[in-house]
Amino acid sequence: MKIASLSPDQAPPIGVPLRFFAMAPVFLVLAALLLATGDGNPFANTHSPALLAATHCITLGFMAMVMLGAIQQVVPVIIGSQMPSPRLVAWLTMLPLTAGAILLTTGFALSKPELLNLSWPLLGLAFLIFISASLFSLARAAAKNPTRTAILLSILSLAGAVTLGMLMARGYATGLSIPYASLATAHISLALGGGVMLLIIGVSYQVVPMFQLTPNYPKWLTTYLAPAILVALLLSLIPVLFEPAPRWPELIAEIIFWILTSCYAVITLKLQSQRRRRVPDATLSFFRLGMLALIAAALFSLASLLPTAYSDHLRMLSVLTFLLGFAMSVIQGMLYKIIPFLVWFHLFRGGVNAIKVGIPNMKEIIPERWMWWHLKLHVGTLLAVLLATRLDMAAWLVTLGLLLQGILLGCAIFTGISVYRDTLGRIEQAST
């Protein structure tokens, strides 16, 4: 039992998560620009520089940016253990992550090794500081709940993914002779299957029942799912790292991984269908879309294991559906809930004067219709993604979709921040 987790000041200053959230949409726009300036259809070739650059723009600049900001908010509140020096950690992770992501992606796009060589130490620094601060905070937390376990495993996977990524970036830049294909497989698996998947699972345990009044996830699931997924993931990587090895253990481990993740998606959809709160909610729709995309990613990956000519194509579709369909849907849906709540929560701390001047409620912070437009735009982008590897026109639509989503999300976040600033100004005026 943890008394400290009831401290009223456990939440970090609002600027900590918001500065990450405000930077993230810039990278969606940058990803679109990188795709637009690439040669031919960047989705047609998994090794095209534009695709590699745009993918890292989305994973590092958008997804990692939001997730780092969100973890710095969530760990103190849900786990009840503060991050050390929250403001300093936020700056020391956000600035090198931004600079490193820009250098890495432009380095890929322009095939400039010197940019890659500048990027990896910066990215390493950002993640080293973030991972050390998070592990320190998680280790101090006396509360041992399944969310803490899932976040811990997610951060450990992230550490592995970052280490391999740094090694490969340095390798590309200096012409090292290392097994790139195997390292890339392990890097992608640890980053997406470990880092992203386990974080979303851990946070779901808390927010799915909370936002829609659904039943809780079953106890067997919250206890065993995250560790089981990580074990399956690591087993699937053993043959990759220790060649030569027979292929069947890798296949079985990968099948188990996808069955477990689909199980999470199906149970989440089932819980949401049993929700007691039955009003339309953009976050819920984003979340459900994400779960459907996760099931689709699993089916694409499982189908790719069959010995057909479409294997590589299906694998590519699985990665794209996981990234843009599952992870991006859930992340965007969560942002539309978290930002209005943070703005309201921090303004309410203005006390009597805050109530006197009137604080906007959560639906007066980011216009709700923008969220629904964004959802439609996102669904359109996803449908185009399914055809982008084969149709140039669809690839252009994906690029356009990402650009518009970046602009719309950026406008939404800046609207939220300006509502916060304006209201805070009025509260301060009322108190003088």
């Binding site: 039992m1 943890k2 008394i3 987790s5 009831l6 401290s7 009223p8 509140v77 509360a143 709940n145 808390q206 029942p209 909370m210 936002f211 009044l213 007691r276 709160r277 039955r278 009003v279 809930k337 209005p340 709540f341 309201w344 929560f345 309410f348 109530i355 906007p360 409620n361 959560m362 639906k363 007066e364």
Partner: protein, 143 residues
């Protein structure tokens, strides 16, 4: 016999159900149902707060329970009461948009609050007040 955690968590669920019913009716502009459901929800919340503020929290404090967490819970009660006041105004004005925004806000405040109580504070009360639990639950119900 029920523990304090079980008894109070069941009351949270009952309040959540009233909350969902009122919100759904208000957003559908079905104000006769919304008003009845909201009043039931507000009264149930008031009763829940009374059980805590008049019986559980003072008993816990006088039995040597920590003052800090109780203080935080009381601060959150104040937040919730303010939101309920504004929601009552939205019901009086039959303003679905305003009600929807306030209920969205209340939901998160309330769920976070319930989560902390169910996972920390009530457990503490079950430990510290184990010997007088039966009498305590009777006194709470009598409020």
């Amino acid at each position: 016999m029920k523990t304090i955690t079980e008894f109070m968590a069941a009351d949270h669920v009952a309040c959540d159900n009233e909350f969902a019913r009122a919100e759904e009716a208000a957003l559908a502009n079905n104000w006769s149902v919304a008003e009845t459901a909201f009043i039931k929800f507000r009264d149930d919340m008031a009763h829940h707060f009374k059980m805590e503020e008049e019986v559980l929290f003072p008993t816990l404090k006088s039995a040597g329970g920590p003052a800090g967490p109780v203080h935080v819970m009381l601060m959150e009660h104040a937040q919730i009461k303010e939101l309920l006041k504004q929601m009552a105004e939205a019901v009086a004005q039959k303003n679905a948009k305003s009600y929807g925004g306030l209920s969205e806000t209340l939901l998160i405040v309330m769920q976070q609050h319930n989560h902390k109580e169910e996972n920390i504070l009530y457990g503490m009360a079950d430990d510290i007040l184990a010997n007088e639990r039966e009498a305590l639950l009777e006194r709470m119900q009598a409020v």
